[in-house]
Symmetry: D3
Subunit: 63 residues, 6 copies
């Protein structure tokens, strides 16, 4: 029954995000023997001006 929340910078394709859900679910299943049916994954996209690294936003850092 694990629940994962993953914060990523916005801008990935729906295809890559679908792959992210698939592979993270598989990783949780394999590592701690959690049944697939109970695994939930929440993706949260951050605009670049909403993610700060060492005091500056990813936007300002040109990421």
């Amino acid at each position: 029954m694990p629940i994962a929340t993953i914060n990523i910078l916005e801008g990935r394709s729906d295809e890559k995000k679908e792959k992210l859900i698939e592979l993270v679910t598989e990783a949780i299943h394999q590592s701690i023997d959690a049944p697939y049916q109970g695994i939930r994954v929440i993706l949260n996209e951050m605009p670049k001006q909403h993610f700060g690294i060492a005091g500056k936003s990813a936007k300002k850092l040109g990421k």
Copy 2:
């Protein structure tokens, strides 16, 4: 002083979300005797391609 964060799939009306805030606040108040004034509720809407169930997004599952 409880703080609840509720992840829901996007698509509910403002009226239903207002009801959600009201009823969850009431539920917290009743169950643990927390004063209304201190209760906070944060709603977070997830696009269907951002919520994964058993390795597939709600969008792909046709939810």
Copy 3:
């Protein structure tokens, strides 16, 4: 498929926390027509020195 996370100060009985899970689930079900089976509730207990209100911890404030 809603997922609620509720931060509360530590110190409630298991009975009250069980009631909290039950009533919040019921509140989500009623307000947005989410099926019971899909609702998840995570409780997170905060020690009083880990929750700050207006710049001071609940411990320091004597809560």
Copy 4:
């Protein structure tokens, strides 16, 4: 290596949000001696109808 997530109501300028990232990072660095390089800050903007205070949304309360 601290990671801070800050929920704020939507409507602040990019300049204020950049300042928020800068000052919170500085505050974490000063208080617990965490190196700047390892500090991450995530901002999450809430629409007024998604934040509940004492059972009503900030929108309904006219905030």
Copy 5:
């Protein structure tokens, strides 16, 4: 620079939790081409009485 938070029921060995961190990091790297160095994983263990499924705690459900 993705940051994942994973809620799991308490009781797994340190070895399995280390494997969870390793495999989830690998899954994020593979699916969205995020560099290893920037990936963070936070594990959060829930006591069985703090996780509710369909209105009852995992403890009460005998999980």
Copy 6:
């Protein structure tokens, strides 16, 4: 009405954590003009084996 959640590695003194609450609250107040009274700060301590950097736990990395 901002709500900040800060994940830190366990091991800091209560005095440093009180300072963290104080300075982060001040930083939020200064940067976005939020009134002190409405600011909440939640600290979440992570055991070293529960925080992963680039695929390994802080414990394994000897942090």
